[in-house]
């Protein structure tokens, strides 16, 4: 009896969290419907209907379920199902507005494209299949930007913020969703930690919006807010087809660089900077490594662009530094003004593109909104490699792995190694599947690395001045959408959710056989 009750409670907690997340997304949809009404009004009905439907489903789940203690194996399925739900219902505005009903696209293609755009938005990837940036109304385009913002900090973190009763399960929920191998606990109360993270996130977004607004000569608050959503979430969507290249402005690019790079830094650090009124960044070894990586990559790329691509030194610096900041922080904005312009990195020499590919793999810092393997994990991996060398010389030596001054526990070391292995396997498997579904090797490899690292633009045909609809077939786009969600949740939750369901299925089959 007790076991049955526990199962019921677990199920209700999962649905409860999904309900809260959907309700939060519906608020954003409603706000964008209002914006649409105030501007062109083209897609207002679609947005309003989507908001209504999402609010209805979310509200029902929220009100009709009650949370309780949550078992570890169900934490991962809770997070995974929440993301599946918001991705599916988040595609509604695009489907209802017929955003992708261009060029004779059938209903399947529209559905696939909407799902892809939604997955790309919520996972803060920024890969797009949108070709026509003029037709959708401002509300719908803002909703597209808003999906990034929701996904950046994470809807589960948001749910935990309004669930004061989750306790320990709450922290594990945050850990399962938050980027990085371990999550910071800013306060003893988990819900308070989640709330503080959202507060600093909102503050960061507001600061970015103000900076963009000022850099653009106070011309468009809409554009400023749209890009602020992107840089805060390290997403990559822009309301303009040529992204930041639309402005062709050094000031705007500089603001974007600063906020993209800072978006790739732990939000706990940002909180400490605000709360303690000090600058804790330089004391953080991960931050130093992150900056060093970006600096080294930018230097190599600038030299290659200058010497090999024949660009002027000024253009090389501008294109190189912006692209490194964009891909190094897993944002994916571009300063290319068109195909073949200095910022169009698919035209760069292979060496420079390979540096970008490596940056896509590395990603930003732990606890940030960025994707990739993360700097902290890369440092642990490097230490594992060095330790294996040291063990070959001193086989019985006990060598702890340190990151900064801290010794990393062996369980975390194993977790990081396991994560890397799974990441590597997913890259290989993903590339194989995407090429099998139609795509050349470089485009497929770039897209898979980009999807798993939540970058956005990839290489070759999926570069910054192209879009994924041109480069990949519909099934390949679905696979990439799935990889984006897997990458956003850092692999484990999705795989464990599948494992958990398989385990349950096996147990059920065994019980039936008996």
């Amino acid at each position: 009896m007790a076991r049955d009750a526990s199962r019921a409670l677990v199920a209700s907690t999962t649905l409860h969290v999904i309900g809260i997340a959907l309700s939060a997304v519906s608020v954003g949809m409603a706000a964008c419907a209002l914006l649409e009404l105030l501007t062109s009004g083209r897609d207002a009905a679609a947005l309003a209907a989507s908001a209504g439907l999402t609010a209805a489903v979310g509200g029902l789940l929220w009100r009709l379920t009650r949370p309780g203690a949550i078992r570890k194996r169900h934490i991962f399925s809770t997070v995974a199902w929440t993301w599946v739900s918001i991705t599916a219902l988040g595609a509604l505005p695009f489907i209802l507005a017929g955003t992708f009903a261009v060029g004779g696209a059938d209903i399947t293609e529209q559905f696939v494209n909407s799902l892809f755009e939604s997955a790309s938005g919520f996972s803060a990837s920024g890969s797009t299949v949108l070709a026509d940036f003029e037709s959708p109304g401002r509300g719908l385009m803002m909703y597209r930007q808003l999906t990034h913002w929701y996904g950046g900090m994470g809807v589960v973190v948001l749910a935990v913020a309004v669930l004061p009763f989750l306790g320990v399960g709450g922290l594990e929920l945050i850990s399962a969703e938050a980027p990085g191998p371990a999550s910071d606990r800013l306060t003893p109360r988990v819900s308070e930690t989640a709330r503080r993270l959202w507060v600093v996130y909102i503050g960061f977004t507001a600061a970015a919006a103000l900076a963009f607004f000022a850099a653009d000569g106070f011309s468009s608050l809409y554009d400023a807010v749209a890009h602020a959503f992107t840089v805060a979430a390290t997403g990559g969507f822009s309301p303009h087809a040529d992204s930041i290249g639309h402005y062709d402005s050094v000031a705007v690019e500089t603001v974007a660089i600063v906020f993209m790079v800072m978006g790739g830094v732990s939000f706990s650090l940002h909180w400490r900077a605000v709360a303690e009124r000090t600058l804790p960044y330089h004391r953080n070894s991960e931050f130093r490594t992150y900056l060093l990586t970006l600096g080294a990559a930018a230097a190599v790329i600038v030299v290659l662009l200058w010497l090999e691509n024949g660009l002027s030194l000024g253009s090389s610096i501008r294109a190189g530094v912006f692209t490194v900041a964009s891909l190094g922080s897993s944002t994916g904005l571009s300063n290319a003004t068109g195909p073949g312009s200095p910022g169009d990195y698919v035209m760069w020499v292979a060496g420079a593109q390979l540096v970008l590919l490596l940056l896509m793999v590395v990603g930003g810092c732990t606890g940030s909104t960025s994707g990739g393997i993360k700097v902290m994990r890369m440092r642990v991996l490097a230490r594992i490699m060095v330790r294996s060398v040291q063990h070959s010389q001193k086989p019985r030596a006990v060598i702890p792995i340190r990151v900064g001054r801290d010794i990393v526990s062996e369980s975390l070391v194993s977790r990081v190694a396991g994560f890397f292995l799974l990441h590597f396997m997913l890259v290989l498997g993903g590339t194989l599947v995407v090429t099998a579904l139609g795509g050349d090797f470089v485009s497929a490899l770039g897209a898979v690395v980009s999807a798993l690292g939540n970058m956005g633009p990839a290489l070759n045909e999926a570069g910054p001045t192209s879009n994924y609809a041109v480069a990949f077939t519909e099934p390949a786009r679905l696979v990439l959408a799935l990889l984006m969600v897997i990458g956003r949740l850092e692999i484990f939750p999705v795989l464990l959710a599948v494992m958990s369901h398989l385990h349950r299925g096996k147990a059920l089959t065994r019980a039936v056989r008996r």
Binding site: I384, R387, S388, H391, A417, L428, A444, F492
Partner: protein
């Protein structure tokens, strides 16, 4: 006192008091003359030099009547090298228990010396015009990578045979290091991948017997390959060139289009030979002894067969790729030989990705081929699965086994370190190739192919492993990649580690000396 008496009785003290004992690397190399130099590195270089000298001399002798200048050069240099090695063998011996770091550094040095010797010969005969090209050609040969700059139609018989002989010697050296040297010399300190487990005890009861057996098995297998090629109608030179290339997974042939111009029977023999070579010396040992039980029970062999079948099936599922072609290329890639029967780089991208993965995984333990190795890949999968299970249950005890033996956490750690190093080397290699002017696909493919010692690659290198489309920087960039892949990375890493340690020690000593001299000066000045 009681303990001291026990130690005296057991002979421990007596043994401790004895001078350093030495042990032969090869069977029958026990020297009666007084040993003057005890060095693992020198001893291994001498042994390899003897084999290489004899092989070079034989290549020269076989080349007589075709291009006599080349043939005489090879004969004389080979004879000189063999004589010098034979003379040095009496004076040099390996230490009884060398430290792991020195063994790894020695392995690195051994490969470097082999490659330099080959390069010098290529340059001396004029087979390759430039010195850097000679280095690339030699590195490709000794690392059993099927990359070449030689025009097979214009090269003399001696040169063609020498090129295949370098890969044969390279293959033999790789097997001896993996199967005999590291497990027996390092004993309990053997790294995963070198520790051959229970299979090793059977084939290699001790260094001398193990070396003799490996030499006999490897030579016998090569002879069988050559005989089979002769039966398919190949000429003696062709049969020797292709036979040496098959047994060593070197992949050199006497033509520019690899095996595309040969008959079906030759291609079938090549596929069978590559399969056995990729399966490794243990499988040859079991087959030679007629022991089917270990064959059946080997998890690694089952995984190897399964992966091969899967790769072939996926490739054959593509339009325009026949089962025969798919099977041949799957074996060629997994055995890291690099033979080709057609221009497979024009195949569908997904088929080439399968080949890339197959090349990355590579052969079984104890094979002259490269790659991560099937056993390591299997264990890594197990470790990743175990980590997933641990996420669900923090207290879960997850065991990763190899042929019934449970691996320790430390072993798995080393395995993880090896895999990370492999990815780092491949990434750095791709970057080097990219900077040197190769396309993106060519850089990634070229790096994986070179580190796995395959050779052919999508892009500028092509299906037949030609380096003509690469400039000098691209060619030279391939040398460290091939060497790193051949050394199976840990020796390379350990070598780098040792060099760094020497550097640090040297730095500390020089600082200490400087401080002491400053103090002396201060004392002198009062």
């Amino acid at each position: 006192m009681q303990r001291l008496a026990v130690l005296k009785g057991s002979g421990v003290l007596r043994r401790l008091g004895r001078p350093r004992r030495t042990r032969p690397l090869l069977a029958g190399s026990a020297s009666r003359a007084p040993v003057r130099i005890v060095s693992w590195t020198l001893a291994s270089i001498v042994e390899a030099g003897l084999t290489l000298g004899i092989a070079t001399m034989l290549c020269g002798l076989a080349g007589l009547g075709d291009d006599n200048a080349d043939a005489i050069t090879f004969t004389l240099v080979g004879a000189l090298c063999a004589a010098l090695a034979a003379a040095a063998r009496r004076r040099v011996a390996p230490p009884h228990r060398p430290t792991p770091g020195r063994v790894f550094a020695g392995i690195g040095l051994l490969w470097t010396v082999l490659v330099l010797f080959g390069a010098a010969l290529y340059a001396a005969t004029g087979a390759v015009d430039r010195l850097d090209d000679a280095l690339v050609e030699s590195a490709a040969g000794f690392t059993t990578t099927s990359l070449t700059l030689l025009d097979a139609a214009e090269a003399s018989r001696a040169v063609l045979l020498f090129r295949s002989a370098t890969s044969w010697v390279g293959g033999l050296t790789a097997i001896l290091i993996a199967v005999v040297t590291l497990p027996t010399v390092l004993r309990s300190t053997a790294l995963i991948g070198y520790s051959t487990g229970r299979r090793g005890l059977d084939l290699v009861p001790n260094a001398a017997v193990g070396t003799r057996r490996v030499l006999v098995l490897y030579s016998g297998f090569t002879a069988a390959c050559v005989a089979a090629y002769l039966l398919t109608g190949l000429g003696v030179t062709d049969a020797l060139v292709v036979g040496l290339g098959t047994a060593s997974t070197g992949g050199f042939t006497g033509r520019a289009d690899s095996l595309a111009g040969y008959g079906t029977a030759t291609q079938a023999v090549a596929a069978a030979g590559m399969l056995v070579a990729g399966a490794g010396i243990f499988v040859v040992w079991w087959l030679a002894r007629g022991r089917l039980r270990p064959l059946w029970r080997s998890q690694e062999l089952r995984a190897f067969a399964l992966l091969l079948a899967a790769a072939a099936a996926v490739m054959a599922a593509h339009r325009g790729i026949g089962w025969g072609e798919a099977g041949f290329m799957a074996v060629s890639m997994m055995s890291t030989t690099g033979f080709a029967v057609s221009d497979w780089t024009a195949w569908a991208p997904s088929a080439t990705v399968v080949m890339l993965v197959a090349a990355g995984i590579g052969t079984m333990m104890g094979s002259p081929g490269g790659g991560i190795k099937v056993m390591r890949a299997r264990l890594l999968m197990g470790a990743a699965g175990g980590e997933l299970r641990r996420q669900l249950d923090s207290y879960a005890v997850v065991l990763v086994r190899r042929d019934g033996e449970t691996l320790s956490r430390r072993t798995l750690d080393r395995l993880g370190g090896h895999q990370i190093a492999y990815v780092v080397v491949v990434g750095a290699g791709a970057l080097l190739l990219g900077v040197s002017g190769l396309s993106l696909a060519g850089s990634v493919w070229g790096s994986v192919s070179a580190v796995s010692t395959v050779g052919p690659a999508v892009g500028e290198i092509g299906a037949f492993g030609r380096l003509d489309n690469l400039d000098w920087a691209g060619r030279l960039a391939l040398v460290p990649l091939m060497m790193g892949g051949r050394m199976s990375i840990p020796p390379l890493m350990a070598g780098v580690g040792l060099v760094l340690r020497w550097y640090r020690t040297g730095l500390r000593r020089s600082r200490f000396a400087a401080r002491r001299s400053i103090l002396k000066i201060k004392e002198r000045d009062g």
